[in-house]
């Protein structure tokens, strides 16, 4: 079969891109361990408090080591539960220093919700019966809005919070 010189060039370009992108996916999945945020770990959605991470006293921000934090949260229509502060008022802002590693752990009590810290890579689907986790390094200073990005009902737009990196 005769192929034009140019055809050979773009076919090589196309096939090489395909191979490179497949290798990138393989590298991310098998070497870096990238996986869906809610994977394997399940929970009883009607009794999330039974799980250690979602006991009312364990909700919200906790420093686990120097520069390492974890945030446990429960999403429900139409609120994110980040625990309560000293005055027993619901927490709406999570404050962490710049450069810290934060493990966000969240589950849903009712329907599918979203958890996105807009402007960062933190973006998860929150499914009832599953635990979603995402660990992120907060590289940039600023205020980032937490939004629900899965339509969850009439009060969907009222589900929000804030992450402040100082």
């Amino acid at each position: 079969m005769h192929l034009h010189k140019y055809e050979k060039v773009w076919l090589t370009f196309g096939m090489a891109s395909l191979v490179i992108f497949l290798l990138v996916i393989g590298f991310a999945a098998f070497w870096k361990g990238t996986h869906p945020q809610s994977h394997l770990e399940t929970i009883d959605q009607n009794n999330v408090e039974a799980h250690d991470s979602f006991k009312p006293e364990n909700l919200g921000l906790t420093e686990v080591a120097d520069g390492k934090y974890k945030v446990n949260m429960v999403a429900s229509a139409f609120n994110y539960d980040f625990g309560v502060d000293k005055d027993e008022k619901p927490v709406k802002t999570i404050r962490v220093p710049q450069g810290s590693t934060v493990l966000f752990t969240i589950t849903s009590k009712d329907v599918v919700h979203g958890f996105q810290v807009a402007g960062t890579n933190v973006n998860m689907m929150v499914e009832p019966g599953h635990i979603s986790r995402y660990e992120a390094v907060m590289k940039n200073k600023g205020e980032f809005t937490i939004v629900c990005n899965e339509y969850c009902g009439i009060g969907h737009h009222q589900m929000f919070g804030k992450v402040e990196v100082y």
Binding site: H4, Y6, V9, W10, F13, S17, F21, K139
Partner: protein, 47 residues
């Protein structure tokens, strides 16, 4: 027979047709795709 052979030259002339414009468009499309991939990757790294 020889005459028939000569008429078979047709495809050969077609193969050497000018593909320069097609080549440029294919490469522009390819670079757009690769460029947008690296753009998204840069966003992921910088955030």
């Amino acid at each position: 027979m020889t005459k028939k052979h000569a008429s078979n030259d047709g495809p050969t002339t077609e193969a050497s047709s000018d593909l320069k414009g097609t080549f440029i468009m294919v490469m522009i499309l390819g670079l757009l795709m690769v460029g947008s991939w690296f753009g998204a990757y840069w966003l992921f790294i910088s955030r």
